[in-house]
Subunit: 181 residues, 2 copies
Amino acid sequence: MLEFPQMPQKAAKFQRERDVFLEHIRRLGLRRTEQRDLIMETFLRTEAHMTIEDLHDRVRRRDPSIGHTTVYRTLKLLTEAGLAREVRFGDNKTYYEHHFEHEHHDHMICTSCGLVIEFFSPEIEELQDQTAAKFGFVPTHHSLRLWGLCENCSISAKDTPTVPSGAQPRLRVVKTATHGT
Amino acid sequence: MLEFPQMPQKAAKFQRERDVFLEHIRRLGLRRTEQRDLIMETFLRTEAHMTIEDLHDRVRRRDPSIGHTTVYRTLKLLTEAGLAREVRFGDNKTYYEHHFEHEHHDHMICTSCGLVIEFFSPEIEELQDQTAAKFGFVPTHHSLRLWGLCENCSISAKDTPTVPSGAQPRLRVVKTATHGT
DNA sequence: TTGATTGCAAAGCATTTGCATGCTA
DNA sequence: TAGCATGCAAATGCTTTGCAATCAA
């Protein structure tokens, strides 16, 4: 069981997420297993975008016998249940982020350091709907990603006019900064 | 050589595109070959989003000996030269679209019939920049995709409350409808 | 003549599937 | 006890790489 000392609201949220997962499994006539519990718990306690491989590594620290197939299958269940969401940042990797009781948001990805900023703009959402309406299009969901340089990297770039560049940066930091305009 | 009877402006554009490609190849110290010419020409004359496999099929109608590897490599050159652009519509396939002298645009994808609508909204672009600026983020490029039902499919859905659904639709139509608000 | 290009086969990757064994309910 | 779950190995599907033969400049 996940423990959140001094963080009762996180513990409560985990309870709700676990209930959603167990209910999803029950509804499909599936079974609760130690592996699924461990994978769910590990996913929920990790506050970052992570790939399947990241998650598999973390899970194996607690149970080295778990295979990657089970991680794939469980992450699919978590996604179906609304606890996880797939995201892609253009580096040909599939990342997963927490989705339960998370507001919809979009992403800015720093192509220099890999920082990912989550943001939300009600104005952009509104304009998307208006634009879609002009084509008689009824949107159900969307994806907006901005690539560029984050504040730190654009300052560095100013200091060093010659862009070092070279290898693609590994996405490594996640800064959650959701707010309206 | 591509021929465009009664369409002198298309012929002229093809000239410019071919020049860009040849110049790109020359600049890199590479060589002009029949295969590259044929692939470029086939790509340029096809007015649709196409996968590598689509393009390979078309190319083979004129020269069955061309291998898929060469198509991959040439499409990479075309992309570098600014004539092609990779796009993804969420069906796990990589599509390529014409990019040369095309205005930037985004996509709406009908999840029922596969129609792809290209659109452009200066207001959305402006708001993206403003939103990025709030985070000190300097965007270089972006991707916005809206999924939902196109006009025809949302009308059909009204007539038939029970959505047939089932298999994922194959993206099959491209309607170019670029305009501002 | 030099070195880039080609097409085949094979290798890589990420993800999925088949299947015998193991384990929930 | 029935049949879902697991983990391995193998199969996919897409893309890239190694390499010998070929060809452009």
